[in-house]
C-alpha cells in the first residue's frame, strides 16, 4: 500500500498522455482507481490526523497522569512522612504515657509518704504534749507529794486514835466512829488527788467535747493550789456571769492553765506583791481569758520567742522550755490564739482566745 501512496501524488498531477495511450476504459478505470486512491488517501489523512489528535490527547493524558503520579508520589511521601512522624509521635506519646504513669506512681508514693510523715508529725506532736504533761507532772510532784502526805498522815493519826480508844476499852462507840469517819474523809481526799493526777498524766486519745473553762481552771487550781498557797501567792478568778463553754479536750486545756500558772508562780517568786489574776469574758463568738501576774514581766523583744520550743528564761535545770510551746500548740489546735503583753513595770499578761461552743451544745463533765 505504501508504494502506491508514494507514486500517486505525481501520478495524480502527472501528464495525461499515459492515459490516452491505453484508451478511455483504462483511463476511466484509472481515474476511478485514482479517485479511490485519493479517497483512501484522504481517509488515511483524516485517520492520520485523528491519530495525531489521539496521540496528542494521549500524550496529554500521559503527562497529566505523570503529573498526577508525581503528585500522588508526593502525597504518598508526605503521608509516609506523616506516618513516620505519627509513629514517632506515637512512640513519644507512649514514652510520655509511661513516664506519666511512673510519675503518677511516684506521686502516689510521695503522697503516701507525705501522709505518713504528717501522721508521724501528729504522733510526735502528741508525744511532745505527753512529754510536756509528764514534765509538768514532774514539776508538780513536790507540791503534790506534800499534799498527799497530809491526808495519809491524818489517816494514820485518826485510825491510830480509834485503835487506842478500842484498846483502852472505851465503850463510847461514837468517839471511835468519829475518828474513823475523819479517816474516811482523808482517804477520799487522797483518792481525789491521785485520780486527778492519773487522769492528767494518762496518754488519753485526744477527744473533744463541750466543756466549761470555769471547770478546767478550777481543776488546774486544785493541782496547783497547795504550791501557790505555800508560796503565799494570791489567786483571784473572775470569769464573769456567762458560762465560758468551748469545744475541746479538758485535759489539754487544763495543761494550758497549769503551764501558765507554773510560769506565773515562778515569775512572782521574788516579787513583793504575789498575785495571779485569771479573768475572762464571753464574747459573741469567742471566749477571752487572761492570766496576769505581778512578776517581773517579759524582757522586751522576747514576747514572740517565749512560745518557741526549748526557749526558756529560767535557770538551767529549772525549766524545760516546753511549757509555753505546748500551750501554744494546744491553743492552736483548738482553733484559738494565745499572745502575751508585758508592759514595763507590770507583770506578764497572757491572753487566750478560744472559739465559743455552738449555742446548742451541752456541757459534758471531763
Amino acid at each position: 500500500m505504501a508504494e502506491t501512496v508514494i507514486q500517486n501524488p505525481s501520478a495524480a498531477a502527472g501528464p495525461v498522455p499515459v492515459f490516452t495511450r491505453y484508451g478511455a476504459g483504462v483511463e476511466s478505470r484509472l481515474r476511478a482507481h485514482i479517485e479511490m486512491l485519493e479517497r483512501r488517501l484522504r481517509q488515511r489523512d483524516a485517520q492520520r490526523r485523528a491519530m495525531l489528535h489521539i496521540l496528542a490527547d494521549y500524550e496529554q493524558d500521559r503527562r497529566r497522569l505523570a503529573r498526577q503520579t508525581e503528585r500522588l508520589d508526593n502525597s504518598r511521601r508526605a503521608v509516609l512522612h506523616i506516618l513516620q512522624h505519627s509513629h514517632k509521635d506515637k512512640l513519644r506519646l507512649e514514652a510520655s504515657r509511661k513516664a506519666m504513669i511512673h510519675i503518677m506512681g511516684d506521686l502516689r508514693e510521695t503522697t503516701a509518704e507525705v501522709q505518713r510523715r504528717e501522721q508521724e508529725l501528729r504522733d510526735k506532736q502528741e508525744q511532745l504534749v505527753q512529754a510536756g504533761k509528764l514534765a509538768t507532772l514532774g514539776e508538780l510532784t513536790t507540791g503534790v507529794a506534800h499534799e498527799l502526805n497530809n491526808p495519809l498522815n491524818n489517816i494514820g493519826l485518826f485510825v491510830g486514835n480509834a485503835v487506842d480508844l478500842i484498846e483502852l476499852a472505851v465503850t463510847e462507840k461514837g468517839e471511835i466512829v468519829g475518828e474513823l469517819r475523819h479517816a474516811m474523809q482523808q482517804v477520799s481526799k487522797a483518792t481525789e488527788i491521785i485520780s486527778h493526777l492519773r487522769t492528767f498524766g494518762r496518754a488519753a486519745p485526744v477527744s473533744r467535747a463541750p466543756i466549761s473553762l470555769r471547770e478546767v481552771i478550777a481543776r488546774a487550781l486544785s493541782l496547783m493550789g497547795e504550791q501557790l498557797r505555800l508560796r503565799e501567792i494570791e489567786v483571784t478568778v473572775d470569769l464573769g456571769p456567762q458560762e465560758p463553754l468551748v469545744v475541746g479536750n479538758a485535759i489539754q486545756l487544763e495543761q494550758v492553765f497549769i503551764n501558765l500558772l507554773t510560769n506565773a508562780r515562778d515569775a512572782v517568786a521574788e516579787s513583793p506583791r504575789k498575785e495571779i489574776r485569771i479573768s475572762g469574758a464571753v464574747g459573741s463568738a469567742a471566749v477571752e481569758i487572761a492570766v496576769a501576774d505581778t512578776g517581773g514581766g517579759i524582757p522586751p523583744g522576747l514576747e514572740r520567742r517565749i512560745f518557741d520550743p526549748f526557749f526558756t528564761t529560767k535557770e538551767v535545770g529549772k525549766g524545760t522550755g516546753l511549757g509555753l510551746s505546748i500551750t501554744y500548740g494546744i491553743i492552736n489546735e483548738h482553733g484559738g490564739t494565745i499572745s502575751v503583753v508585758s508592759p514595763p513595770g507590770e507583770g506578764a499578761r497572757f491572753l487566750i482566745h478560744l472559739p465559743l461552743a455552738p449555742a446548742d451544745t451541752k456541757q459534758t463533765s471531763p
Binding site: H146, G156, L157, N161, Q185
Partner: protein
Amino acid sequence: MTTTLGVLIVDDNPALLQALPRALRLRMGGVTVETADSAAAALERIVTQDYDAIVTDIKMPGMDGLALLAEIRARRPDTPTLIITGHGDNELVVHALRGGACDFIQKPIDRDYLVAALYRAIRAHVLNRRVKNRQLALECCAEELERIVQQLEREPRAVPGGAES
C-alpha cells in the same frame, strides 16, 4: 514542876489539828494540848503561855516552821521545840536541828515515836529547869554565904579570937 503538861501544836492543816491533839491526849495522860493554825497565832500564844513543848509543822504559808523556831528560841529559849517534816526532807531536818530544834518528827507521824520524843524533850526541859532552879538556889546560897562571910569579917574577932593572943 506543874502536874499537867502543856503542849502547843502548830500546823496549817485543820484535820491534823483535830487528830494529833486527840492522839496525844490518849497517849499522854493529863496533857493539855492547844493548837495554832499559823506561826503568827503560835507567837501570840507563847507571849502569855509557857508551854512544856511546842510541835510545829515545817511547811506553812506565811512564816514557816524554821522562822517560827527562830522566834521561839528568841522569846522562849527554854521551851523545847519539835519540828514535823515531810518524809525525806533531810536538808530541812538539818536546818531545823541547827536552828535549835530539839527533835524532828517525819510524816507520816509514828505516834509512839512522837510521844517518846515529846516525853524526852519535856523531861530534858524539866531537868533543865530543875538544874536552873538548883543553880539559882545555889547562887542564892552562895550569895548568902558571901554575905555571912563579909559580915563575919566586919565583926570584931571577939569571940573566938582571944585564945591566940
